[in-house]
């Protein structure tokens, strides 16, 4: 899980330069550069100031990048939680498969 942001995207949408956004947020241009490059994680207060300056919801600006991890996790869960089918739930194809396997093993 990593904190990421889309400040650059919304800043460019609003037509602000880094300098302008820095002035509006009350920080230096270097701080905005560091935040956009994910080198610096801003405090909640600064995050709110930036969202106010960009007139955007803070949840759209900042997010946790765990979607990739979650997808992998759910795939792993699907594989491990696959329960074997009971005989009473067998369909025709399952019987055919069982028969072929038995023939192979014999």
């Amino acid at each position: 899980m990593e904190l990421k942001n889309s400040i650059k995207k919304y800043r460019q949408l609003k037509g602000f330069t880094q300098e302008e956004l820095a002035i509006k947020s009350g920080v230096s241009r270097q701080t905005i550069i560091s935040i956009e490059r994910y080198r610096y994680k801003p405090s909640l207060e600064l995050g709110l100031k930036i969202s106010l300056a960009l007139e955007t919801d803070i949840n759209k600006l900042f997010f946790l990048d765990f979607i990739k991890d979650e997808t992998n996790k759910s795939l792993k869960i699907k594989e491990t939680e696959k329960e074997p089918i009971k005989f009473q739930d067998f369909e025709d194809k399952d019987w055919k498969k069982l028969w072929v396997n038995l023939k192979k093993n014999n």
Binding site: G26, V27, S28, Q30, T31, S34
Partner: protein, 141 residues
């Protein structure tokens, strides 16, 4: 390499440490075996104070001339400053332990010249490392 106003002010501190090493440390090193009297020490302190004042006045005037924008101190600057001062504090603690160890030992080099030399070297080393670390943090974070 592009430097911001804040980074240039850190470089100014770095250069001051280097100039201090060049101009004053050789003298303190050569005279480390003698015991200074109070008048001499006062004279040296005044010399150092005058040198520092002139250097920083000129350096910051030149900085203000070339960088007209105001230096904003935000939370990132505070974070970097606290990290570098923390490192400097740890190094100073270690240095003081070394100096105290030297004082408590039976070494013949226990004149006040040696003590002054050790303390000045320690402070300079800590200042240098602190400035370098601050510059590194500004460039990488």
């Amino acid at each position: 390499m592009n430097f911001s106003k804040k980074e240039i002010s850190i470089l100014i501190e770095l250069v001051f440490s280097i100039l201090f090493i060049v101009f004053f440390i050789p003298y303190f090193y050569e005279h480390r075996l003698i015991s200074y009297d109070f008048n001499f020490i006062t004279t040296k302190i005044v010399q150092i104070a005058i040198f520092s004042t002139i250097y920083f006045s000129i350096a910051h005037s030149v900085l203000e001339f070339f960088y007209k924008n105001k230096m904003i101190n935000d939370e990132r600057d505070d974070l970097i400053s606290s990290k570098s001062y923390r490192l400097a504090y740890i190094l100073l603690d270690l240095g003081i332990v070394v100096v105290l160890g030297h004082l408590l030992s039976d070494s013949p080099l226990q004149t006040n010249g040696t003590i002054i030399f050790l303390i000045i070297t320690l402070l300079l080393a800590v200042s240098l490392i602190k400035s370098l670390f601050q510059l590194y943090l500004y460039k990488t974070s």
